[in-house]
Symmetry: C2
Subunit: 300 residues, 2 copies
DNA sequence: CCAATAGTGTCTATGAGACAATATCAG
DNA sequence: CTGATATTGTCTCATAGACACTATTGG
């Protein structure tokens, strides 16, 4: 008995001495955030222009180191708050990237998160912070994606505040009449910034590609699309369809999409019809409320 | 120009001093491995009995810290080699777990990997190492899973070598005649060890549950099932069907499964028919070779 | 009326569950 | 022949793509 205890104590001490933090070289761990949103049928992604070495002038994802007393997701939320001022945004872990030289400064392992932000929330927050954060259109290409933004490239010599998308685009703040609300997939822009994979810092192009693939793969089988809704308590099926268009990068047939949602969400009680319709240009549209789980059977 | 450079240099120094490893408290990062295999229609999982505090006597996943010069996947491979002697096993990242107190000793973030090991490979390796690693049957229950093993619980006071599954079960080493090869889903064992979620150390029950859900969700849409094949160059559709049975925890109709594989893999050229059939008890079975990618169009 | 948007219906192809029927071996 | 396993076929239902048609608003 005594012998067993001392044996155990020895082992525990062995463990603690062997793995005491700081005693040997360890990777650092950070969390990167992919801030996605939708506008009409266009998927949006927030990138930050780097003002420091390495990759100065290139674009990257917001991120930060994970502190000793926060989870990876909390670090991602903290980053989202710092970069955009937003809280309470739905997030989902994407993947953990750990290549040795993914950051030339030091060894950093990154746990990446997808944040799904409603357009309305982001509209009041874009141009965010110091004008280094820019919301890009995500455009699928044959071999991946490119990113486009209407904003005029800021003069970096001043290096303080470039033009922000809201300033340049002059977006209306009223949702239903926004000109782009019902548009098709993004077309080539005639001006602004075009960002290819090579213009993206670190391994963040790979992270973005992974995120796009993940979202396309999951939106038909999970409820992630609903996170992009401006108002989960009053949305139309067209609102939802445009989100699916944006995330998957394809146009969805109106009738087929309605049937799809009906089977998966209406008949299961995961969304329910509201009393009031929403009036607009044509025939008023029924609005729905997102419930999420099937509330039919009470919790036992 | 000079001013700009010094500004950059200042920022870079700021970064390095702020994030120099060891300067402030950071989480440690480890990698845990879920070693799965199949035998007949039974899914198998390798667990290790803990001989140290905390959770002494409970079961856990093999794992190790990620070194400064290896990726998370390399750490997982190294763990797999250390615990089972196996190399070249297909692995897939599962999820990164980062709750603050998931390990009571210290802050450890864990990147978990699923290893998919063919039965034949594992058969020559089980009873692995010091007899602390045991291969369990995974049995789905209404609210998750339990783990069962035929092996007799070793006397831990001796603490050196308990009975290993291979010793106790006395499994034949010849594959085609193994009695369990064509069996149905696992039945309750009359002796041996039953491990419930509460008997599992750390947050590893949650990790296992996540892995089971992931594999069930992916096997119908990806090729992960093929990693469990003893011989990717000569397998029968029954071999494959039993793997699907094991992973999903349900019996698959023979005819429907053949049609499923035909549509997804044979007509696409991802598996091709071999000349030689495999003889057994009844009608000889056609064997197939796994190609993976569609080789019809040459790489451009 | 027309333009615009919302919503329904219909034809067809595909995939999967249930299950019957046939084929080919060992003995 | 029988037992055992492999392989094919058939009926049916659910789902989804393509696309035509109807409904309800504003002007």
């Amino acid at each position: 008995m005594i012998s067993e205890l001392s044996e155990d104590q020895k082992k525990e001490q062995e463990f603690l001495s062997k793995y005491d933090p700081g005693e040997y070289e360890r990777p650092s761990i950070a969390s990167d955030v992919l801030v996605f949103s939708t506008e009409g049928s266009v998927l949006k992604l927030l990138l930050i222009r780097r003002n420091d070495y390495p990759f100065k002038g290139k674009w990257c994802l917001p991120g930060s180191f994970i502190g000793a007393n926060e989870t990876a997701e909390e670090a991602a939320s903290r980053t989202l708050l710092k970069e955009t001022g937003m809280t309470g945004i739905a997030m989902e872990q994407l993947y953990t990237f750990s290549k040795i030289d993914r950051d030339p400064r030091m060894r950093i392992i990154s746990v990446s998160y997808i944040a799904m932000v409603p357009n309305r929330v982001l509209r009041f927050r874009k141009g965010i912070r110091d004008g280094e954060a820019v919301l890009f259109d995500v455009v699928r290409t044959g071999d991946g994606f490119v990113l486009m933004s209407d904003f005029e490239e800021p003069d970096l010599s001043g290096a303080e505040r470039g033009a922000t998308p809201s300033e340049v685009q002059g977006q209306a703040t009223v949702l239903p009449e926004t000109k782009d609300r019902n548009t098709a997939l993004p077309e080539a822009k005639t001006h602004g910034v075009l960002v290819r994979k090579g213009d993206i810092a670190f391994d963040h192009a790979e992270i973005i590609q992974t995120a796009l693939d993940r979202m396309v793969g999951k939106i038909d089988y999970t409820d992630i699309g609903f996170h992009f809704l401006d108002d989960k308590d009053a949305f139309t099926l067209t609102d939802l369809r445009l989100i699916y268009n944006a995330v998957k990068g394809v146009e969805h047939d109106i009738g087929n999409f309605r049937r799809f949602i009906k089977n998966r969400y209406i008949v299961t009680g995961k969304i329910i019809n509201n009393r009031e319709d929403r009036k607009g240009f044509g025939r008023p549209a029924a609005t729905y409320r997102y419930i999420g789980v099937n509330r039919q059977q009470p919790a036992k």
